[in-house]
């Protein structure tokens, strides 16, 4: 593979603190050098990044690739292509496949499939409990050995606090974080959208903010008891953000991610009974959205993750209460993050890049998220001002469930480089 030189872009590498116009020289799959006027080696491919931002490859620590088991909705290959088109060079699929990724065989299958078919890096997340049933611990150690980078029973949260405590203790021994989809299933049972004025108006059953809050509270207390690294998935409520900030202030290893849609939309943005607005946690109140944005700005929230959740049309084109939860996220993530965080001045570009790179890399302990010499040659090249319109029918995903179809963005991914190879270009 020839060397690649990305010329003349604004290189932002939060890990090293670098922020300036420079060239990035990648050779043999790794970053060789970053600096102005790099002497291109003979035969090197060049990419003109003038006017663009050149950042370490983005990491999405929360996606659903649906393989094995639900290949009609997404595959590792299609999901990876969608990731590349969203500027992501690494993605972490949640274990809710069929079979559930609760043992090393499934973990290895995913990694092997990804090695053959995925254009981006795939780092699987294993289950906390067998079959994510919340009762017996999964084969956490051997999944870790096979390449799992974290454990989570995403979507089927561990309701038994004792089981969660044991999982945290065990995971600590392997140095991996426990990621929780925080939802008290008794409080949320039967709910279809955030509990509030909109759910009352639409006559839909509510998912109260408290169903998230009580689990975040429980988990933080358990994280303190166990000393585990604990990560809150798709944080969406004001109190949850406050509690994570409190846990950080106590020095606990507690982190959190926010999805782009929870930064962008509130419950009163829901087109009535349109299932493309149905996900968990649900789109919450304006005040909650404000708190999540503030949580990102203040540093309480460490990462942006999409919770990319493909569902085929046959499942989404139904009565609202019958539809499954979840929306696509990979291809619109950067556009939404720019729109809701950077353009309104909530955070600077450097902070944005951290949320997509060093943030998730540190949580998961990945050797990614930096352009320092010797680091893997994963690069995300993006624009902060080019306008483009999302057409979900042209998505690389096999599914079409996005509320952002037809939306025009200012800024977004331009090219994605994985291991020194351009895998996607706008």
């Amino acid at each position: 593979m020839p060397a690649l030189v990305i010329r003349n872009g604004r290189v932002i590498d939060p890990a090293s603190g670098y922020d300036g116009v420079a060239d990035v020289w990648i050779e043999d799959g790794a970053v060789r050098a970053v600096g102005p006027n790099t002497a291109a080696p003979a035969g090197a491919e060049t990419f003109d990044a003038t006017g663009l931002v050149v950042a370490p490859g983005f990491i999405d620590m929360h996606v659903h690739l649906r393989e094995p088991g639900f290949e009609h909705a997404e595959t590792i290959e299609s999901g990876a292509r969608a990731a590349a088109a969203g500027g992501f060079t690494s993605i972490c699929p949640m274990p809710n496949t069929a079979p559930v990724n609760d043992n090393a065989t499934v973990t290895s299958y995913i990694i092997e499939k990804a090695r053959k078919h995925a254009v981006v890096n795939v780092w699987p997340i294993g289950a906390i409990t067998k079959n994510s049933a919340g009762e017996e611990l999964a084969a956490i150690g051997s999944m870790r050995q096979a390449g799992a980078v974290a454990i989570s029973d995403d979507g089927r949260p561990v309701m038994n606090a004792r089981v969660m405590r044991r999982a945290m203790e065990f995971a600590r021994g392997f140095g991996i974080p426990v990621i929780d989809h925080c939802e008290d299933l008794h409080l949320s049972a039967g709910g279809d959208m955030h509990e509030g004025a909109e759910s009352v108006r639409l006559g839909l059953r509510g998912i109260p903010g408290s169903s998230e809050d009580v689990m975040v509270a429980r988990d933080i207390l358990l994280a303190e008891v166990t000393g585990a690294r604990y990560h809150v998935a798709h944080i969406s409520s004001r109190h949850a953000v406050e509690m994570v900030a409190f846990a950080k202030s106590r020095g606990l290893a507690v982190t959190a991610e926010a999805t782009p849609h929870h930064l962008a939309l509130a419950d009163d943005d829901i087109a009535p009974y349109d299932s493309n607005y149905k996900m968990k946690p649900p789109l919450r109140s304006r005040g909650d959205v404000h708190s999540v944005v503030q949580g990102v700005a203040s540093g309480a929230i460490d990462a942006i993750a999409t919770d990319h959740a493909p569902h085929p049309g046959s499942e989404k084109m139904q009565e609202f209460e019958k539809c499954p939860f979840g929306i696509l996220g990979l291809e619109t993530a950067l556009g939404l993050a720019l729109e809701n965080l950077v353009h309104p001045g909530k955070i600077g570009l450097g902070h944005l890049v951290r949320l997509f790179t060093t943030g998730p890399a540190r949580i998961l302990g990945l050797d990614r998220g930096t352009l320092s010499a010797g680091a893997p040659g994963d690069v995300t090249i993006f624009s902060t001002d080019r306008t483009w319109t999302y057409d979900v029918n042209k998505s690389f995903s096999k599914s079409r469930n996005s509320p952002f179809d037809g939306k025009t963005f200012r800024g977004g991914p331009v090219a994605t480089v994985v291991g020194g190879r351009i895998v996607w270009q706008a």
Binding site: V200, G203, L204, G206, A271, D274, S314, M317, E319, E321
Partner: protein
Amino acid sequence: MPSREDGRGLLGIENLTRAGVQAILDRARDFQPAAGKSFPRFDLLRGRMVVNLFYEASTRTRTSFEIAARRLGAEAVSITAQASSVSKGESLVDTLNTLAAMRPDAIVMRHAASGAPHFLHRYLQMPIINAGDGTHEHPTQALLDARTILDRGAKLEGLRVAIIGDIAHSRVARSNVYLLSKFGANIVLCGPASLLPPELAQLAPGVTLTTDMTSAIRDADVIMMLRVQLERQHEAAFPAGEYFQFYGLRLEHLRLARPDVIVMHPGPINRGREISSEVADSQRSVILNQVENGVSVRMAVLEQVLGGEKHASTGH
């Protein structure tokens, strides 16, 4: 988002204008039967066909729509979910598309899912009349309730209306709140706190909430009792044995209300659960007038939807 705002059908009261509601209520009077007579026959919708598609059990609403269609000269076909291909696993959209291919002029639809007709409205050109969607709206019920109140000679403006029962799960309550509010009525919603989310006060202007039945009824011009909907209770939101004691309407309550108070109930009533037999059968009860007005009001709605004459705008 593919959303058409062309006034097809009748999805709810929320997005109707006051004038639109008034037009239906006025027209319904023309269809009321003379004392002791049956409903007059008209030829206004001859050659038109209405499909009644009921995914939930219903006696009065379905029969009432059928009679209304026939009295206007239209044909009416009724389908219940149990007897249809729904039981073979067909999706709602496919069922509706199939029915639409048979070219009825409108579909009257009841469904247990809130928003089911609104969801279909995005995909189908055919007018849909909402005959009750989940815990959302039941527009023709509110229209017939308003017609019944007006028949008593009252004006809606300034009227004190107490709606009592399982408000959280009531489509009747929501549609009535929207309608009465448009006309400046004062609406008191009353029920156990677990069935009375505070956000109900934001539904429309003029709404207040109370968990105390006596304060809801005091000086009321109209008392609307709601059925305790055990089928929509996904958990025990109140101790079942205590319901009648605290939220059941009894004769002694009526003394607190205005002397000419009327008692309404969308039916079917549960005697001894939310309303005592004595009240249900009392002179103050207009429950059967409501049923009668159901036909006249639905005639007015069908005429408006099928007759090509648009009085009101609907839809989101």
